[in-house]
């Protein structure tokens, strides 16, 4: 059952990203991305991380993608490149992607088999996560709040219309 769910969700997420590569319309791209993120949330749930799964769906598939769709609505949609130029770029990027894939496989091939045997000791319930967040990772957590304030103020300042002109 678990393996079946994994294969189903993996296929959905990978093919949603593939569909994002193929389609030109940015609004469809954003919706495919929502599908991919939602199925990734399901995969997180399979990995004993239910809280992260919920956070993934609420923040990624919800908030961040709504932000993207707002930006798409503010920018009118247009067509992409003429096909012959795009083909060359496609080949280059395929080669780059394959090189990276081989690199990762070479780097990880020795280590993955040893990981498969270890058993799970902790689960990702919110109590344990919160305890860890407020003890071991307290400083990163506080620095994160500064980051969010900086992003908020930065976005406001960037998009402010000039008073003079």
């Amino acid at each position: 059952m678990g393996l079946f769910l994994f294969i189903l969700l993996a296929l959905i997420s990978a093919s949603a990203v593939l569909a994002m590569i193929v389609t030109k319309n940015q609004a469809y791209n954003a919706l495919f991305l929502v599908l991919a993120f939602a199925s990734l949330g399901g995969l997180f749930g399979l990995l004993n991380a239910p809280f992260i799964a919920v956070v993934q769906i609420i923040i990624y598939a919800g908030a961040i993608m709504v932000l993207f769709i707002f930006a798409i609505m503010m920018i009118n949609l247009r067509e992409g490149l003429p096909p012959e130029k795009k083909r060359r770029i496609l080949y280059i990027s395929l080669v780059l992607g394959l090189v990276f894939l081989i690199e990762i496989i070479l780097a990880a091939s020795g280590r993955l088999s040893s990981l498969a045997g270890t058993e799970v000791t902790e689960t990702g319930n919110p109590v344990d996560l919160g305890r860890l967040l407020f003890t071991k990772y307290l400083y990163p957590f506080e620095i994160t709040s500064i980051l969010i304030i900086a992003a908020l103020v930065g976005a406001l300042v960037l998009l402010k219309k000039k008073e003079k002109e």
């Binding site: 678990g2 993996a10 997420s13 990978a14 990203v17 593939l18 994002m20 590569i21 791209n29 991305l33 991919a36 990734l40 995969l43 997180f44 990995l47 004993n48 991380a49 809280f51 992260i52 923040i59 990624y60 908030a63 961040i64 993207f68 930006a71 503010m74 920018i75 247009r78 992409g80 490149l81 770029i89 496609l90 990027s93 780059l96 992607g97 990276f100 894939l101 990762i104 496989i105 990880a108 993955l112 990981l115 498969a116 270890t118 000791t121 902790e122 990702g124 344990d128 996560l129 860890l132 967040l133 990772y137 994160t144 980051l147 969010i148 992003a151 930065g154 976005a155 960037l158 998009l159």
Partner: protein, 100 residues
């Protein structure tokens, strides 16, 4: 029980797809979306390794990654809208200010 390495392999595949999308797409918004795909692939790798080692630290790092991704999305979209206001386009081949 699914081995954690399956999830790791899936995260590698998603990351590679994100790279390919980043280089094939020619508009800033979709390129930005493919960066989000890559971040999510990294999240999946973190969680699968957290499961493999039986520790929670990997899951917590995903929280920070999601927070940074949200901040990055806000700033990045603001910059894209600024570019659109000035240039009236978001296609990368039309934005060649630094071309000699």
């Amino acid at each position: 029980m699914i081995p954690a390495s399956y999830f790791f392999i899936l995260s590698v595949i998603l990351f590679v797809l994100g790279i390919i999308a980043f280089f094939t797409k020619r508009d800033l918004l979709t390129m930005f979306m493919s960066v989000e795909v890559m971040l999510n692939a990294a999240n999946l790798a973190f969680i699968s390794l957290a499961k493999a080692t039986g520790r929670l630290d990997g899951q917590l790092i995903v929280f920070f990654v999601i927070t940074v991704a949200a901040a990055e999305a806000v700033i990045g979209l603001a910059i894209i809208i600024l570019i659109y206001r000035q240039k009236k386009t978001i296609r990368t081949e039309d934005i060649n200010l630094m071309k000699g």
